[in-house]
């Protein structure tokens, strides 16, 4: 089922959580709402679910206006950040809940419910834990139960609020691969909220980057990472170095003083050399080297006094044999230039 949010505005007292936001999600896609806390992403998700109602705007499912429908009527599967499992019910009862509360004429028989729940337990690989209570499960297991409970009612849309936020790094990685796999199997239109850009880029078909109640960019992970629409997007999707600069006849100049533009360079798009290469470069002194990890992180001080972060492949680092306090040349391989905006300054 496709989802459309049209001109949504939502205020909480003085705070504007969503400012005239419009978003279209085609049927069957897995979409990430990505942004820092307070960007309005969770509010948008809750409005789609019917747990929150917008001050202005409409929500449509498959073109039908459902703005006035309650959460109970919308048939969405919602997975909460802290799972919200019913703590006095077993895993089985939790998953069966959505089926058991149906009006009698739509309620499946006891046997049908049992079969269905067991199929879902198989799907989440927790068949032998049906009689456990939520407090007896690990975080990752609870998350999967919450997902099975949401899927049990055969929702038309699956909404997940920071689904992996409360888990440790390793479990998080496993679960997000599993979610991607699951989505490839059942093709349900899914929207998940996250503040982790890596998670959004890895799992989603499309990423919606949000900031301060507005949508900054909608695009494929490749689009938003490699062709950012704004300084905020570029800044939010990875580490960056910021320089003052200006653009003249297709050439970018980096300046020491404030200008109308800001030049953004990702650390891995900077190279280090002992000699100037004839192209663009600037001088710097190496301050700190951290060689642990796939990339060597070098911190340097540019000739005008600002810190610069550079990330080099291990082989490049070894062939250069850099030393602390050495004078080197830094060569930008690719830069992005955006006009100065308040948001960019704040995001820094």
């Amino acid at each position: 089922m496709s989802i459309e949010a049209v001109n949504i505005t939502k205020r909480f007292g003085q705070f504007t959580a969503l400012d005239n936001v419009s978003l279209e999600i085609p049927s069957g896609e897995l979409v990430a709402l990505l942004g820092p806390s307070g960007s309005g992403k969770t509010t948008l998700l809750r409005i789609i679910a019917g747990l929150e109602f917008p001050d202005i705007g409409t929500v449509r499912f498959d073109g039908r206006d459902i703005s006035d429908r309650s959460a109970q009527e919308r048939r969405v599967g919602f997975v909460f950040q802290h799972y919200a499992l019913f703590r006095h019910m077993t895993v089985f009862e939790n998953i069966a809940f959505g089926l058991q509360v149906r009006p009698r004429e739509f309620r499946p028989s006891r046997n049908q419910i049992r079969t269905k729940v067991h199929n879902l337990l198989k799907l989440i690989q927790l068949e032998n834990l049906a009689d456990r209570y939520p407090s007896q499960l690990s975080g990752g297991q609870r998350q999967r139960v919450a997902l099975a409970r949401a899927l049990a009612v055969e929702p038309s849309v699956l909404l997940l609020d920071e689904p992996f936020g409360a888990l440790d790094a390793k479990v998080r990685m496993e679960l997000r691969r599993w979610l991607r796999q699951l989505h490839d199997e059942i093709h349900i239109t899914s929207v998940f909220v996250t503040h982790d850009q890596e998670e959004a880029l890895e799992v989603a078909d499309r990423v919606v980057v949000m900031n301060e109640g507005r949508i900054e960019q909608v695009g494929s992970p490749d689009d938003v990472y490699n062709r950012p629409a704004s300084a905020f997007v570029y800044n939010f999707l990875g580490n960056v170095n910021l320089f003052h600069g200006r653009v003249e006849e297709d050439k970018t100049y980096i300046h020491e003083v404030e200008t109308g533009h800001v030049v953004y360079v990702r650390p891995h798009l900077l190279d280090i050399a002992r000699l100037p290469n004839g192209g663009s470069h600037f001088r710097a002194r190496i301050k700190h080297i951290n060689a642990a990890g796939p990339l060597v992180k070098v911190e340097a001080i540019a000739e005008w006094g600002d810190p610069v972060r550079v990330e080099l492949p291990q082989e490049r680092f070894r062939s250069l044999q850099l030393m602390k306090n050495e004078e080197v040349f830094i060569i930008p391989k690719d830069v992005q230039v955006f006009p100065v905006r308040n948001e960019a300054a704040r995001a820094k």
Binding site: A49, G50, L51, S70, A71, Q72, R74, R75, V76, G77, F78, F80, Q81, H82, Y83, A84, L85, F86, R87, H88, F97, G98, V101, R102, P134, S135, G139, R149, A150, A152, V153, A166, D168
Partner: protein, 300 residues
């Protein structure tokens, strides 16, 4: 995570703290002796006297005192008053806790203050309020008299006074519990298609059942034991408007010590049963709250 492999610093600190803050043996033992003596004189001795005085003149006098018509009427009236006020205050307590715990609205703290009012008002004043409203010289007195309705010096007045005095017990017990549990589970139930009623019966209520039971037990104990407010509105008509505490007072004032203590022993038994039930429920509720803490702790 690291604390699993390292020796737990909390435990070490605690055991050192016990050593650092402990006192000389003679100080410890004399403090314990004082506490035990205090408990003995003010709690166990009176309890023993109630039962020994009640049975002083034999079991037949004891049973006779309880089966005497006025005593039976007092017991019945006490059961009626508690039987009406406890369920009503339970419903009120649940709705108040639900409204206060799950929603934000203007005047919320005023409502909480109002709920606490019966705790801060003297029971005698609580009774007088009803006399001033429903009594013959009271606000509604003439109207009630004209319609031949009797509230003061009758059963309705006793029920009203009992309700007022026991008003905060259930609500006070539930409000913090409901607030701590938040609204996520209810939201989950709604998105799964449950109606408001289904959500309440299947999710909200089961989550607070031990707190609710605890509140009801306390509420019931107070409803049966209330003296002051009921005394003002009752009129002390033997066999008609006397509750157990009032009946005991009358017997005692008439120097009928054995029957007075016999009826008193029933109330004492109620207190003991309440204490036992309270302990069991507290233990269950604590289990539930550690579970709640563990779940939210891990979720963070």
């Amino acid at each position: 995570m690291a604390s699993i492999t390292l020796p737990n610093p909390g435990v070490l600190a605690a055991s050192r703290a016990v050593q650092a803050t402990t006192e000389q043996p003679w100080v410890r033992w004399s403090l314990i002796a004082i506490a035990v003596a205090f408990l003995g004189v003010f709690l166990f001795l009176p309890l023993a006297i109630v039962f020994s005085s009640a049975l002083e003149r034999g079991v037949s006098v004891y049973v006779g005192a309880l089966r005497e018509p006025d005593a039976m009427a007092a017991i019945k009236l006490t059961l009626i008053a508690a039987g009406i006020s406890v369920p009503l205050n339970m419903i009120f307590g649940i709705t108040a806790a639900w409204a206060i715990g799950k929603f934000d609205f203007l005047g919320k703290s005023l409502l909480i203050t109002l709920i606490d009012l019966p705790f801060s008002v003297s029971p005698v004043v609580s009774g007088l309020i009803y006399v001033l409203i429903f009594g013959l010289q009271g606000l509604l007195g003439p109207w009630l008299a004209a319609h031949d309705l009797k509230i003061i010096f009758a059963v309705p007045g006793i029920v009203l006074a009992t309700m007022f005095v026991t008003f905060p017990f259930v609500a006070r017990e539930l409000i913090p519990l409901v607030e701590a549990q938040g609204t996520e589970e209810e939201e989950a139930a709604l998105t799964l298609g449950a109606s408001g009623w289904q959500t309440f019966w299947r999710v909200t209520l089961p989550n607070v059942k031990w707190g609710l039971l605890y509140g009801v037990i306390l509420c019931n104990a107070r409803a049966m034991g209330e003296f002051g407010a009921v005394s003002v509105v009752s009129g002390h008509i033997r066999g008609r408007t006397n509750t157990m505490p009032l009946h005991i007072e009358i017997l005692y004032n008439e120097y009928q010590f054995a029957p007075a203590f016999a009826v008193a022993s029933l109330l004492a038994l109620l207190a003991l049963a309440t204490l036992l039930a309270k302990t069991v429920v507290e233990w269950k509720a604590r289990q539930q709250s550690t579970e709640l803490q563990r779940m939210s702790g891990e979720a963070l």
